[in-house]
């Protein structure tokens, strides 16, 4: 796996981690808020229950206060036993207890006659149904306006039960609003019956269908956590009281920032990706450059690297690598130079500087191939200094060397650009030439012979006369294939003829018959290609 792939995986993992952590944080925050809200709701519901219990007990105290009032008892006695009008009871009650904070009050005789509170028929009916069962206590019942909380107590005068006193408070819309006095719409207190909101502290919710299990008010946009507020001994037919807290409102702030945070997470991920890409790019560029360079080096090249001006670790590495390349390049140049020198040394004669026999062996195949390919002539001029042993013996070997250098100089100075001059050994030299016609080589051979005759070798005050014999042979086109030995052999034969004929002459082999006119013109000898039977 490449580092690029690994880096992409690392960055991708980091981005996923960032987004995952943000999502997890939001879920945790949401859960914390909801759990806290649930706890708070439970507490608030208990507070509401306590308030309701206090109100219930307050009503009970009111009934005790009223039923225990001696004057009321007397008044009731007068009405019930003496048959006096009940207006006295009503007047007394209003004067004495009219200021009590209750919504309904009722005094019902044991016979069921209404002495006070005829305007509350529903309450009268409920009390009549309970008078035998419980003489003292509280109860709830549903009225069109709301749930009614009522407390009742018997009125006993001189050991005789005269009547029942009932006071009640209607837990209606206003009551709910008073209980849930917070201005915030986060909380809602409502009565529910059969899944329908009957009365609510928020009138907008009246009549909505409520899903108790999921805390959803159908028709409302908000979702609520609900907790039942126990009324206490309310019975199954009385609507249930619920306190709800809006999860939607609680989570609104979180929701508001959730989008921002997700965007930030995505932006953070993008930034990480960008940094990763930049890092990858910063690393990848020098790595790629180094890979390309090393690839070229594997192919035997030492390319030139552009140095970076910055001072990062990677740039310094690349610059160092460029330095190494430069050093290698210099070494390569030196090696090449030395190799060339060695090569030159290997293919040239050390005394004369002319090509040696080894180089002849190396280059001849190419020349012959060119002869075949281009259909040209390859001519060989084989030269041999006459009586060279005599010079060595007479003037010494150093003089012989001087003669060889002098002759080589003549060959180099008078040969053509297309000529390849070799010293084959001792006093024997060879000139190979590739040309369209072989006449030039015949002329050159004769010209060289004449120059040698005219120019004696000056050595330590002596003029040493020198002459040379030459044999010329040719090959053409496909005749040249595999015929170096034949070419040299025919040149050697011609040279032999020249030596045999008295030396200091040029003999042209019959393979160069195309140059016969030139031979004749220069009064040279053209010999047959057939081997001399007598040789």
């Amino acid at each position: 796996m490449t580092y690029k792939t690994r880096l992409l995986i690392y960055v991708g993992t980091l981005v996923v981690l960032i987004i995952g952590m943000m999502t997890l944080s939001f879920r945790m925050a949401r859960n914390v808020i909801l759990v806290d809200a649930e706890e708070h709701l439970r507490h608030a519901a208990h507070v509401k229950q306590d308030r309701i219990r206090v109100q219930r007990e307050e009503l009970a105290r009111f009934t005790e206060l009223i039923s225990g009032d001696l004057r009321l008892q007397e008044a009731l006695y007068v009405v019930l036993e003496l048959g006096a009008g009940k207006e006295g009871v009503v007047a007394y009650y209003k004067r004495q207890f009219g200021a009590l904070p209750v919504d309904c009050r009722l005094i019902l005789s044991t016979r069921g006659d209404v002495l006070l509170g005829e305007e509350y028929p529903l309450l009268i009916e409920e009390v009549r149904a309970r008078m035998d069962a419980a003489q003292r206590g509280h109860f709830y019942f549903r009225s069109p306006d709301g749930v009614v909380m009522a407390a009742m107590a018997p009125v006993v005068y001189q050991g005789q039960r005269l009547a029942t006193v009932v006071v009640a408070r209607t837990m209606n819309q206003d009551w709910l609003i008073r209980q849930e006095h917070r201005k915030s719409s986060d909380y809602v207190l409502f009565f529910e019956d059969a899944g329908q909101v009957l009365w609510s502290s928020n009138p907008d919710y009246n009549g909505l269908t409520v899903d108790i299990e999921h805390g959803a008010l159908q028709g409302g946009r908000q979702h609520f956590s609900l907790h039942q507020v126990e009324l206490g001994d309310n019975g199954s037919e009385v609507p249930r009281l619920w306190l709800g807290i809006s999860e939607t409102s609680l989570l609104a702030l979180l929701k508001r920032y959730e989008r921002w945070t997700l965007w930030l997470a995505v932006a953070g991920g993008m930034v990480v990706l960008l940094f990763g890409w930049l890092m990858l790019r910063n690393f990848n560029k020098p790595f790629t450059q180094l890979m390309q360079i090393t690839g070229q080096m594997m192919n035997g090249r030492l390319p030139t690297m552009t140095r970076s001006q910055s001072n990062t670790e990677m740039d310094r590495l690349v610059n160092r690598f460029a330095d190494v390349l430069d050093a290698l390049r210099r070494e390569q140049e030196e090696v090449r130079r030395v190799h060339k020198k060695l090569q030159e040394t290997a293919i040239r004669d050390s005394l004369t500087g002319l090509y040696n026999r080894r180089y002849l062996q190396e280059m001849t195949p190419a020349l012959l191939a060119q002869v075949v390919r281009d259909g040209r002539y390859l001519t060989a001029i084989l030269l041999d200094l006459d009586y060279f042993k005599r010079i060595n013996d007479q003037y010494g070997h150093l003089a012989g060397d001087a003669v060889l250098v002098h002759f080589s100089t003549l060959l180099r100075q008078n040969s053509r650009t297309s000529d390849h001059v070799f010293r084959l050994g001792g006093e024997e030299f060879l000139i190979l030439n590739l040309a369209d016609r072989p006449q030039g080589s015949v002329v050159l051979a004769n010209k060289l012979r004449e120059l040698v005759n005219r120019l004696p070798v000056h050595y330590q005050g002596y003029d040493i006369p020198v002459s040379v014999s030459a044999g010329v042979s040719c090959c053409f086109g496909d005749q040249g294939e595999g015929s170096l030995s034949r070419l040299l052999s025919e040149a050697d034969k011609a040279l032999y003829q020249a030596k045999s004929a008295g030396r200091n002459r040029v003999v042209v082999h019959a393979s160069c018959r195309v140059a016969s006119d030139t031979v004749k013109q220069h009064r040279l000898t053209l010999v047959s290609t057939k081997p001399d039977p007598g040789a």
Partner: protein
């Protein structure tokens, strides 16, 4: 330096001098007030006479009665009278005659002031406007239990009584001599205010109350004529109106001169005559200008 010191201390010195002068002025007017308390009637009478009484006696008078936390009624009056000290002069007022035994045992002095008619009252909605004394007594005893028996509607009679000072002679006893004689099925009240409210509450109610009672504006009471006579001082004097009670002031055995002056002014002063006329009281003492020297 002296100037600076004097400037610093001058305000303090001035304040101290002012304080001492103020204290001196207060001590010059340090005479204790005379305190009176007791039955409601007396409070009505004495309160009305207060400026005259203070002028005559030269003393400040403080009266407790109506809405007082010290208590109302004859017992409160006797109790206040017995609290008399040289530095705390008191007197009381009672609405019924005291027995000799009580006067002796409690070392009291009684100063009769006036007779007060006891009004027989019914609800204003009751068509009956007068009864005979026998009818009243019959109602009180329970012999008559329906208004139709005395010419009224067919409606039960709700008897309301306030039988206070049961151990003292007089008072409601001018109606029936013993509490046991009253009808058992009745409403007993403990104050005149309750009496007024009870009779106002029940259309068929009947009760009794002193003439010095100031009826509330929303009172629904109606005063009956008895034997065809209104409850006036004149009818009391010529004994045509049968129900009344004795109003008296009480002190301990050592009242101060100022207290005696106050009581005497009530008994004989001209101001009281005006009050008595307003409340149909029959003064029991001749005016000062007619009193024997």
């Amino acid at each position: 330096m002296k100037r600076v010191v004097s400037l610093l201390f001058a305000p303090w010195l001035g304040a101290w001098v002012s304080l001492m002068l103020g204290a001196g002025a207060a001590s010059a007017d340090n005479t204790p007030v005379v305190t009176g308390a007791g039955a409601h009637f007396a409070w009505v009478v004495f309160e009305s006479l207060k400026p005259d009484l203070e002028r005559v006696s030269g003393r400040s008078i403080e009266l407790y009665g109506r809405n007082s936390t010290l208590g109302m009624g004859c017992n409160a009056g006797i109790k206040t009278a017995l609290q008399n000290r040289p530095d705390h002069e008191t007197f009381g007022f009672v609405c019924c005659p005291l027995s000799d035994r009580e006067v002796e045992s409690k070392q009291l002095r009684v100063y009769p002031i006036a007779l007060e008619p006891i009004l027989v009252v019914v609800n204003r909605d009751n068509p009956v406007s007068g009864l005979s004394a026998d009818q009243v007594r019959g109602i009180m005893r329970g012999d008559i239990v329906n208004w139709k028996e005395v010419g009224g509607r067919d409606e039960p009679i709700v008897l309301v009584t306030r039988l206070h000072c049961k151990k003292r002679p007089g008072h409601w006893k001018t109606i029936l001599r013993d509490a046991k004689e009253f009808r058992q099925q009745r409403l007993n009240v403990s104050s005149a205010a309750d009496m007024e409210q009870r009779v106002s509450d029940f259309r068929g109610a009947i009760g009794h109350i002193g003439s010095t009672w100031n009826f509330s504006p929303d009172s629904r009471l109606k005063v009956l004529r008895i034997d065809g006579h209104e409850p006036t001082a004149e009818n009391l004097q010529n004994r045509r109106y049968p129900f009344f009670r004795n109003l008296s002031a009480v002190t301990d055995r050592h009242p101060s001169d100022d207290v005696l002056t106050i009581i005497r002014e009530v008994q004989t002063g001209p101001a009281f005559r005006r009050i008595a006329s307003r409340y149909n009281l029959l003064p029991l003492n001749p005016p000062a200008d007619q009193a024997s020297p």
